[in-house]
């Protein structure tokens, strides 16, 4: 549905997007992930035909964004980063304008506006001036304009920014529902958003794509070794030594303090260790070791790499690759 081949965008001396290529299949929900200023918005604006790429080809539904921009624009619903809407119009008047601008035939226009108002939960505010609405409602108006004329492709640039947590959950659920029958690209720098909404993630930093894979593959790829976290009531040094001798273990280290837990005082209390290992699962071996020595076993669980870890690792690695 969306094909981007070797797209570069230059703003004067600044290279905003550097030879980016990716494809998005029909019906996929793809997350664009990257720090601020990474080039996410630029790629999205190219796909929405706001400006053409400096070089390279971008196609939506088979139409080139440069030479067949009107066809592409008919197919794409775009939610700009600033969520800009005409704040001096009423919701209904604004969406009426959008429907007309997007070629919805006259006799279907009122019906279409009604449908979008219903599906975005704007019914109570439909006659209010947009500028007087709360941020959450304005955001919904922004999404409503993207949905008008029922486009096949939705490009949403940071749709949940500036919303309260409840609205964020609501919008995410909404986007997930939309993704069932449409192709959606959404950008964000909020990581959980990607894992709850998207099928696939494209990580972009400094104008380049670092990875474009499903979350599961991404985890597997970055996690050559696996980890087990063990909480033991017993002597720390002996425990470390015992675990290190288990087959396949690469490293044993004390678990750092986490938000809800502090390091135990020296000498007493439980010890938390993270055992990093290769090959087959070692949960059994770990617990047997503990029990054989007569220590107390409080917890054994595997530690998954979170999206945060993956993200930081990718960005970090790309920074290092560049320096070398």
């Amino acid at each position: 549905m969306i094909e981007v081949d070797n797209v570069t965008k230059q703003f004067g001396p600044v290279l905003a997007v550097d030879r980016v290529s990716f494809h998005v299949a029909r019906g996929e929900v793809v997350g664009f992930l990257g720090p601020n200023g990474a080039g996410k918005s630029t790629v999205m604006r190219i796909l929405a035909c706001f400006f053409p790429p400096t070089s390279g080809k971008a196609r939506v539904g088979g139409y080139d964004v440069t030479s067949h921009s009107l066809e592409v624009r008919r197919m794409v619903g775009y939610f700009p980063e600033k969520a800009s809407v005409y704040s001096d119009l009423s919701v209904r008047a604004f969406l009426g304008f959008v429907a007309e601008a997007k070629d919805v035939p006259r006799r279907r226009r009122a019906q279409e506006v009604g449908r979008v108002i219903d599906s975005c939960g704007l019914k109570e505010v439909q006659n209010r001036i947009i500028g007087q609405l709360s941020k959450g409602y304005r955001q919904r108006v922004g999404i409503a304009q993207a949905l008008t004329s029922d486009p096949e492709v939705l490009i949403l640039d940071e749709p949940t920014i500036g919303l309260d947590p409840e609205q964020v959950v609501e919008i995410r659920k909404f986007i997930r529902d939309l993704g069932k029958e449409r192709t959606v690209i959404l950008s964000t720098h909020i990581l959980p958003e990607v894992s709850t909404v998207c099928d696939r993630v494209i990580v972009i930093n400094r104008g380049r794509i670092l990875t474009s894979e499903s979350l599961k593959e991404l985890r597997a790829q970055l996690q050559r070794t696996r980890r087990v976290r063990v909480e033991v009531e017993g002597p720390r040094d002996q425990a470390v030594e015992a675990f290190s001798r288990l087959p396949g273990v690469v490293r044993v280290e004390e678990d750092g303090p986490t938000e809800d837990r502090e390091l135990p005082a020296a000498g007493g209390g439980p010890v938390s260790l993270v055992v990093e290992y290769e090959g087959g699962d070692i949960h059994n071996e770990v617990s047997r070791t503990v029990l054989e020595r007569g220590w107390g076993l409080l917890e054994v669980r595997s530690v998954e790499l979170t999206l945060e870890d993956i993200y930081l690792k990718l960005i970090h690695d790309s920074g290092r690759a560049r320096e070398e």
Binding site: F11, P80, F97, E100
Partner: protein, 247 residues
Amino acid sequence: MKVWCVFKKELRLYFGLFIAYSLAASFLVLSGYFFYTDMIFYDLFGTFMDITSSLWQYYFLDLRFVAMLIIPLLTMRLFAEEKKLGTIELLWTYPLKDLHIILGKFLACVFIFELMVACTLVYLVMFASVYTFDWGPPLAGYLGVALLGATFIACGTFISSLTENQAVSAMSTYGLLVFFWFLTWNEEALGPQLIGIVSRLSLYDRFEDFAKGVINTKDIGFFVLVTLLFLYLTLRSLESRKWRGMR
């Protein structure tokens, strides 16, 4: 029709924001006051002379001045506001052609301006109820005001497309319009050859024939041409986003 769609949206904004009303109020107060003083002047000193040279000419030159004051304030927001608020991003990603956007906006301004001008016809109707005169010359003058206004609006539309600051847009439009006006004030400074060319290019000198009640197809053609030129420049200015480094 896409032009119609942008046109309606612009009108909705102009009237919804009371810009149209407040500008119309200023326009009518100023033009009404000018008509009143010109009429008194004619009544006191001009009745033995030709009404065209002692009333209409003054009135239409005054109206030209009021148009110059009002139009930059009308056109300043056309593109500048959309750029500032980011709504231009919507317009450019909807299936609208740049030409449709420009024409819709330009025609909305022209419509509002001509509506204001049409309101001033009330003065003439009232004047006609107490005094008999030939309607030909003033109607030629009105045609001139309508054309001159459209040309000014095209200037303002172009300048608004260059900036995202409404104040800058208005000030630069004033600069351009006033420059056109002053251009031919000092004939000696320009020299005899140059003055001939410059006065033919001056929007204000072209208008003077209309004020005298003379409709000249050359003048009409000139105004239409300048209007089209500025609209074309606007189109090129909007297209510059495709190659310029704009964020």
